[in-house]
Homo-oligomer: 319 residues x 2
């Protein structure tokens, strides 16, 4: 069998199975959560996450060098945000085509630097490599107080399902680029310059109101399936509660809008569950929208005309 | 100007200059040493290093999947070894061509897992990505007691210059493959299955006899230049003291041997300096060879017939 016959999650599961079981201070190992979690002594856990992006799949040609740099850091910080971690450093291995203009490389580096700085950290190291295709492999490190670690696995039946920000903005930008529909800078920026929810993640875990959390960069549907699998629960979310920008609603309707909002990915928002008696505490931590509730099994969208089962489909390499 | 008009070190220097100055607990930042060094509280520094390898440049087609996995972890561990750090985790972002056989991917993962396990750590996370060219971007984390951190910058005039193991074995393997000369498995293994000097690095910094240290994966000459620049010193090394395996000496002679031993890279040995009055303490820490001494400036090889200035040439991407 070839790699392309697997979806990404199936491949990761096969890989994780071959690796040594977590031990030696590894609290969360490969394939289990948004970040690996290490106990290296002290009050905090050390969180580590890595993401490889490259030209063809991840950087539409309309993106500037600065945006490529920004995004390469942001995707890693978003994984830290999903565990409420405070970032302490980013390293970036850059595979650079030999004919790349130095000015473009410098723009990328400036974007990396500004994104890290915006979220209270910095690029502390890296690697450069001559590569046919522009490839950016970043790794971010973060710290979170041991007693505040929130995993994907804590959601309980009847918890409320919440998200930060808006859904479908990045998806709408992708569709618009694909169909050559003109869209405003605000929508394009959601795709090209994602804002990892570092502050919101820190505030949410600090509020002790959250039972599980992850980011939805791979899309809401796939993320709900991931969260449900880790917590052995299901979800019902309500179409009319999904927070979507008016400008996005103007651009796309019906099935197409649903695709952007639920299945496309690219929004770096947090998806989390909150015990109903703590929802006011969570609201004080950061702006949020309650989009549904935790149920026993399955992932469903309640919409006009009835219940739709949401398949585990979203942004995946392979498959 | 294009990337290919720079050598790798010049490119890294330009990149490092654009990044925010180390702060917020960053003890050693981008472009300064083999690893970035973070102070995250406690008795230890956290060390981070990342290396991107890929099919065309780094994995000769004779390498097995297992060896590709092993090497991808080993190159990162070698950077930790050069700071005497104890590894605590490795993450690996894998860019995989879609038509890659699953069995081959599994072999790679097994090689990664065995290398990490051999050196007391494990693969704790990663990323998979569909990529035209097989690309392995690893990041390794390690810890070292704060008072034991050895940087590239501590070499002093009249210190002794030392290396672990043998030089030129990986270079000889590369030449032999290139020229289709049959060589033994021992020599090929030095290239395909490098052994990072984790135990030696830990023992050396623990002995408090070492004034500066780095690995020589980019070759002895380039590494001496790097160490000299960081410490504002020079080096004189003696050709007849360079530790070279008899099998390598049988294969190559004269200028070709010198190329393999001094300029080619691929040996994951440690290069370090020791105060002359502490050389016996260093010898107790691990087997080593004294190859020369620290001088005021320049990098020279004393050989039959006189002194040769060694140029800053070795394994570099770009340029």
């Amino acid at each position: 069998m070839k790699a392309c016959e697997f979806n990404e999650r199936a491949l990761i599961a096969r890989i994780a199975k071959l690796l040594a079981k977590p031990g030696n201070g590894t609290i969360v190992g490969a394939g289990e959560d948004d970040c690996a979690v290490l106990d290296i002594g002290g009050e905090d856990y050390l969180l580590v996450t890595t993401d490889m992006l490259h030209r063809k799949t991840d950087f539409p040609h309309q993106m500037s060098g600065w945006q490529i740099g920004w995004m390469s850091v942001a995707v890693n910080l978003s994984d830290l945000a999903s565990k409420g971690a405070r970032p302490v450093g980013v390293v970036m291995a850059m595979g650079i085509p030999p004919d790349t203009e130095l000015e473009f490389i410098e723009e990328i580096v400036e974007g990396m630097d500004e994104c890290a700085g915006r979220f209270g950290t910095q690029v502390i190291g890296g690697d450069t490599d001559s590569h046919d295709e522009l490839t950016m492999a970043g790794t971010a490190l973060g710290l979170v107080k041991k007693e505040l670690l929130i995993r994907r696995s804590g959601a309980k039946i009847s918890d409320l399902v919440c998200v930060t920000g808006h859904l479908g903005t990045a998806g709408a930008a992708l569709f618009a680029l694909d169909k050559k529909i003109p869209v405003g800078q605000g929508i394009l920026k959601a795709l090209f310059e994602p804002m990892p929810r570092i502050d919101e993640g820190i505030a949410l875990v600090g509020s002790c109101s959250v039972t599980s959390m992850m980011d939805i960069s791979d899309g809401l549907a796939l993320s709900l399936h991931d969260l449900g699998k880790a917590s052995s629960v299901g979800f019902k979310v309500y179409e009319d509660r999904l927070p979507v920008l008016p400008d996005v609603r103007k651009l796309f309707k019906g099935r197409e809008l649903l695709e952007a909002v639920v299945f496309t990915g690219g929004d770096f928002e947090l998806l989390f569950t909150v015990s109903p008696d703590k929802i006011d505490i969570a609201r004080e931590a950061c702006p949020l929208t309650v989009i549904g509730e935790v149920i026993g099994g399955g992932v469903f969208l309640e919409k006009e005309g009835g219940l739709e089962e949401l398949e585990a489909r979203g942004y995946e390499h392979f498959g």
